[in-house]
């Protein structure tokens, strides 16, 4: 069964550094999402992406965050200048159709900011 894959599984970065989290969505999916889950807290929506542009974004997704689909397969989340509070699990998801239809999640990247 097709899967969403995320790399790396664990990223350790110094505060203030830029970090790029990578995702390969399921190949025939058109809608892409990023979520984060701070340890012990809820899964929080960050951004949705369709047709090479952001569809929706949350208040968490400020100017420090950006997303890109640099080629036909990858979908990336960049955090420009990381803060301690950015430490979390970051999940990528994709769906075949929009309207928040069932989403397929990757196993996440654990981001640790030192």
């Amino acid at each position: 069964e097709p899967e969403v894959t995320q790399t790396p599984s664990h990223q350790v970065t110094q505060m203030g550094q830029e970090v790029i989290l990578r995702c390969v969505p399921i190949s025939n999916h058109l809608y892409f999402y990023w979520y984060r889950q701070i340890l012990g807290q809820k899964v929080e929506f960050l951004v949705s992406f369709y047709n090479n542009e952001i569809s929706e974004k949350s208040e968490i997704f400020d100017d420090q965050f950006s997303v890109e689909r640099p080629d036909g397969s990858n979908f990336t989340l960049k955090i420009r200048s990381t803060k301690l509070e950015d430490s979390a699990m970051y999940f990528c998801a994709s769906s075949e159709r929009g309207g928040m239809k069932p989403q397929h999640f990757g196993d996440g990247t654990r981001l640790s900011i030192l």
């Binding site: 809820k42 949350s58 999940f91």
Partner: protein
């Protein structure tokens, strides 16, 4: 309670018993979805129920939705040890001027063999 709050927070049952988890939410929704998450893994979609549906079945899963009470329940029948996981409801709704999937805090289910 916040959008998409589950109860109980934790549930421990014996294999073969049924497990019921509840979810309450605050705003009008387009649909409500249930996901499971095994420890250290991503979320896996289980079932989606539309706002005009009242009940839906998928294998050993039964989901109900009561939009008048803004609540949903997930029933897992004849539970197995492999059902041990966290279960989340997620509401598809407009909130703060945008449409997003909002997850609850989850119910941690432990099925004892």
């Amino acid at each position: 309670s916040q959008q998409g709050e589950e109860d109980p927070q934790a549930l421990s049952i014996q294999e073969g018993e049924n497990a019921t988890m509840n979810c309450s939410y605050k705003t009008s929704i387009n649909n409500l979805q249930w996901y499971r998450q095994n420890s250290g893994r991503g979320l896996v979609h289980l079932i989606l129920i539309r706002s005009n549906e009242r009940e839906k079945h998928s294998g050993r899963l039964r989901v109900t939705l009561d939009t008048s009470k803004k609540s949903s329940s997930l029933l897992i029948t004849a539970s197995r040890a492999a059902d041990t996981a966290s279960y989340f409801c997620a509401t598809d709704a407009f909130e703060g001027g945008r449409r997003a999937l909002t997850f609850g805090s989850g119910t941690r289910l432990q099925v004892q063999p």
